[in-house]
Point group: C2
Chain length 196, copies 2
């Protein structure tokens, strides 16, 4: 039996093109053929890398979330305190969205709104959304210990509020094609409601 030829490099290229196309066109609006054409991979070899479009969607969501988590950890590690680290991370995201002309938004939010049915893709979305909330809650918890964040509400609940508002602000950013909704979210919550 011939062994399918696979390369980690091609897989990563497919995932990065997946992030771009799912962000631009949604799950149902993205065709596998267009992804393969962009990367220059023949149609037949898609199944060497992924079992199905669902499976590709799930892997793309995980790839996107790993990138986001790495950026988050970088910002937190470089900052003097967790609230400044969160601020830096949100600023980094704001630059990213400004540079891309306020299209796209958040892949987890976009596909989370669109993919209703149970399956690998929804499972990946739920897991990545929860992992991101846990990261934010961790930073806010450390902030509470250092007296930088209000302690009358659990860090997990504050994280939920921050993530919910950020997701809604990303949606409004897309509607208004402006970074202002993201700045408002940061000012009202991180520099407002969350303060001790």
């Amino acid at each position: 039996v011939a062994r399918p030829r696979r390369s980690a490099d091609t897989r990563t290229k497919l995932l990065e093109e997946g992030v771009a196309q799912f962000l631009a066109n949604g799950f149902h609006g993205t065709g596998i053929k267009a992804v393969l054409d962009s990367v220059g991979v023949p149609k037949g070899s898609f199944y060497n890398y992924f079992e199905s479009k669902e499976d590709f969607g799930a892997a793309t969501v995980r790839h996107y979330s790993e990138g986001l988590a790495a950026a988050f950890d970088r910002c937190l590690a470089a900052a003097d305190d967790p609230v400044s680290g969160l601020d830096d991370f949100f600023e980094w995201e704001m630059r990213l969205h400004t540079d891309s002309g306020f299209g796209g938004g958040c892949l987890v939010g976009n596909l989370g709104a669109e993919v209703e049915h149970d399956g690998p893709c929804r499972n990946a979305l739920v897991a990545c959304h929860a992992a991101f909330r846990a990261r934010i809650a961790g930073a806010l918890g450390t902030g509470q210990e250092r007296g930088l964040v209000r302690t009358d509400i659990p860090a997990v609940e504050l994280a939920d509020l921050l993530v919910d508002t950020w997701e809604g602000a990303l949606l409004r950013m897309k509607m208004q094609r402006s970074v202002e909704p993201l700045r408002q979210c940061k000012d009202h919550l991180l520099r407002g409601y969350l303060q001790p």
Copy 2:
């Protein structure tokens, strides 16, 4: 020239089926044929009612938003004060989503995340999102005049924050299949941050 046979009743049925199917499957995941089959309308007569799928999407978004606005106005008119009216409206939405098993979410939010390209559908989404924000801002402004809402932040900005958080909470409701995110949003903002 034969005049196309149209009925307002059939148009409304198509729009209501459109709301249900776009909520369940997104814009790209919804086929016009499935909508027509559900309502029992032959394929050929779709174009008696709508110019295109885009045009149908735009009309569906407007139909959905009119229903939401009517419910909002009913809640505000029946309540003693605008903050209680907002609370009643959010409670009404929470019952609606609980009854539908936390699927669907907000049509404007879902399609707003998905429909990137300029056109009638995006225009309708932007207009309906703005109209809803204006309704909330109006209620909060009256609340400010009556001393029920903090006045150090403009009502429009508070409305943006409330709508953003609600949209993000609807997304998390879909992820967690629970009404809890919506309740958290209401408690933290309407009964927390927005208080005088």
